[in-house]
Point group: C2
Chain length 161, copies 2
């Protein structure tokens, strides 16, 4: 294994660890618990965090150039708007299934990228900007999304501990 | 810049971003706000999170083999035990200073390591275990501590938003 392959392996391991911890939180809750439990009084419901993380992970297909996203319809509810009890959400059981599908497919795509492909620009960057700052690459997106998931995991655990 | 150097740069950028965001939360609060504000009712005070993150960051000097830690005395209060209002804490102003010192010195040490040194084993690993799994290296510690800080940052922001 080259140094660069090893670094990518470490980054994918970190992603997996955080996603598995989040998955444990969500999959251990019933649909009605997901709807009822909040991070703190007046704060996000866990179902909102599940939808939000699924949408952000799903968007990684586009940003990383890994093909079309599976559930772009989630953005309107879970990314563009804050949690709102007046809004009709997808069923918790459907969201759990999307979460699983998105994470499973992402991981399989991650494993198929070569070490050098991880250092190519991500799709939210122009060629010109990437030339100026080659650290704005796929690997940076992976690390950024890992810390994003961990950020909300810290909140989600407040609801279940 | 080699591929491996670029990967290390991306990882250090991710660490910096998360630590800067946490620093913004803590440095914008007065000492008495740090003592009073909690993540959620009955949960950690922000001063506990500040001490906890400072202690965990400080321990990185030892784990990464970067020399002696600056404040090992923090572990007894902020790592081994949960938040407890009966326990006498260091002054908030001192903790803020330790947080700054530790993060500044860590970052300067991070910048001085070569790309290959990041892939060497960390000090909590034996040579034998590292030989079996070379992904248990310094870079893995950096990513792990970055997600740890982000985890608590998500909680801390609940207290201040």
């Amino acid at each position: 294994m080259t140094s660069q392959q090893l670094s990518v392996r470490v980054a994918i391991n970190s992603w997996k660890l955080v996603v598995e911890r989040a998955d444990k939180v969500f999959s251990n809750l019933s649909d009605s618990q997901l709807l009822k439990k909040v991070v703190a009084p007046g704060r996000n419901r866990l179902i909102y965090l599940l939808g939000h993380l699924t949408a952000i992970h799903d968007a990684m297909f586009s940003i990383l150039g890994l093909g079309p996203r599976l559930h772009p319809e989630l953005d309107a509810i879970f990314v563009s708007e804050p949690d709102n009890k007046q809004v009709q959400l997808p069923a918790a059981s459907d969201l759990k299934r999307y979460w699983d599908e998105v994470n499973r497919k992402l991981l399989s795509q991650f494993e198929s990228l070569s070490a050098d492909e991880w250092l190519q620009r991500h799709r939210a960057m122009s060629e010109e900007d990437y030339a100026k700052n080659p650290a704005r690459n796929r690997l940076a997106v992976l690390l950024n999304r890992t810390t994003h998931t961990s950020y909300h995991l810290g909140q989600a655990l407040l609801a279940v501990e």
